[in-house]
């Protein structure tokens, strides 16, 4: 049986068509809040159960409990605060408000609480640093003065150029069931696949029924691969190198926080809601710069015996000239001089220079896909 949703029940905060029409016809009567793309995506993830058991943005009890104990106030493991910030109080607790992304009303929110918070405390507890050079910390420092907590109901989907590839937890759960998979390992990625990724994924698949590759689409920085390149690269890899009855690909939209160990647990919880029973925790998972130790995220999972999804800790893979294949530090007896580490940055530089990476680094079919895009990188 696939994983039970986190907190026991898959949350779905979608309104019936008639209710939706009524709310939209009365939209001018509601106070309006403009939200950015990241918050709109959070909303969608709440509404479709990716963030189960959250039914809305955190109230102060849950927020403080997440900061202090990495758990919601009912003791459910939860490591990343999912919050909505505002600068001015133009409505009161008890009001219903409409949340707009651009001109599009995305959701109705029942405001349970408006509260202040300490940004430094937020940064220190979640990111383990108050350094504004950390992108997650910088984001917190740019947030509004108040947080608004309360349940939401989704009115409109956020425009999604990759809707075809974006499956919701209710869909992946049916998919896994139909395929007869009882154990599923999920892999999170923001990159095109290289041989190191393939090794880790296939090593994990050896122990379970199915592999669920779940690329995160969303905000990118300059030099990152574009979303469509990542999708096409994986499709090609699947076509040529993956067992059709044991692997599937679907995307999720999510704004990275770069909170390292805490975020690794959050990523696992999201995949648990999709139905995965196992989750691959990478080296420096969700890290940035050198704020976290390379395997710090692995230790974090020790705090959550009740997480309900099994982390799989597979060491970074590299090519060993002596072994003649992909290995990791645990299984390779040869010294460093024989090892070729596969770095995403190095691969990007080679590709940008028009140089094809060797086959032990990247499948030629994947390289061809990248090359087929005139501009594969975010500019």
């Amino acid at each position: 049986m696939v994983s039970k949703p986190h907190g026991g029940r898959l949350v779905r905060r979608l309104v019936a068509d008639r209710t939706r029409e009524r709310i939209l016809s009365e939209q001018k009567e509601y106070p309006a809040i403009k939200i950015d793309h990241g918050r709109a995506i959070d909303l969608e993830n709440i509404a479709h159960g990716v963030y189960s058991p959250l039914k809305g943005f955190l109230t102060s009890d849950d927020f403080q409990s997440v900061l202090d104990h990495m758990r919601l106030s009912d003791d459910t493991p939860w490591t990343i605060p999912i919050v909505l910030d505002i600068n001015e109080r133009t409505f009161d607790e008890g009001d219903a408000v409409l949340l707009y992304y651009g001109d599009l009303p995305i959701a109705r929110m029942h405001v349970e609480e408006i509260y202040t918070y300490d940004k430094e405390e937020f940064a220190k507890k979640v990111f383990k640093t108050t350094d504004s050079a950390h992108p997650g910390v910088a984001k917190v420092y740019s947030m509004g003065k108040y947080l608004v907590g309360g349940e939401i109901e989704l009115l409109n989907e956020v425009p999604n150029p990759f809707a075809k590839y974006t499956l919701r937890p209710v869909e992946t759960r049916v998919l896994f069931k139909e395929r007869g998979w009882k154990t599923i390992v999920a892999f999170q990625t923001r990159n095109v696949p290289h041989l190191g990724h393939e090794y880790v994924q296939k090593a994990a698949l050896t122990f379970v029924d199915g592999l669920f590759i779940n690329p995160v689409l969303g905000k990118k920085k300059k030099g990152d691969y574009k979303d469509e390149v990542i999708i096409k690269a994986y499709e090609t890899l699947f076509e040529h190198y993956y067992p059709k009855d044991a692997a599937t690909l679907a995307t999720v939209r999510y704004e990275m926080r770069y909170a390292g160990p805490r975020e690794a647990v959050h990523h696992a919880i999201m995949r648990k809601n999709f139905g995965a029973t196992h989750f691959i925790v990478g080296r420096d998972h969700a890290g940035v710069g050198d704020y976290y130790g390379p395997y710090e995220a692995w230790d974090m999972f020790d705090n959550f015996p009740d997480l309900g999804i099994t982390p799989m800790f597979i060491r970074e893979a590299f090519y060993c000239r002596k072994c003649g294949g992909m290995v990791n530090a645990k299984i390779c007896p040869h010294p460093e001089e024989f090892h070729v580490r596969i770095s995403g940055t190095k691969l990007r530089k080679m590709i940008m220079a028009g140089e094809q990476p060797p086959e032990y680094m990247m499948r030629p079919e994947v390289y061809e896909v990248i090359r087929s895009f005139e501009k594969p990188f975010v500019e």
Binding site: Y117, V170, T248
Partner: protein, 75 residues
């Protein structure tokens, strides 16, 4: 801001307490309470794991299957 998370006290036999205290020496657990909390969470989680629950109705499931077929995920 919310109050600190509330804790409560439970009683366990003194010999068991002493046994646990000895057992956690040199581990990451800083107190018997921490260890007991850890064990109880593990036990509760494994019990909850056994309770099955339907996530959606048959009608919903059929609708989802149709979409999955249309997208090429199912034959």
């Amino acid at each position: 801001m919310a109050d600190e998370k509330k804790y409560t006290t439970v009683s366990i036999p003194k010999p068991l307490y002493d046994k646990i205290k000895k057992r956690i020496e040199g581990t990451g657990f800083t107190s018997v309470s921490d260890y007991v909390t850890y064990v109880l969470r593990e036990v509760l989680a494994s019990l909850e794991e056994e309770e099955k629950e339907e996530v959606f109705t048959e009608e919903e499931e059929e609708k989802v299957k149709e979409r999955l077929r249309a997208l090429g995920y199912l034959d």
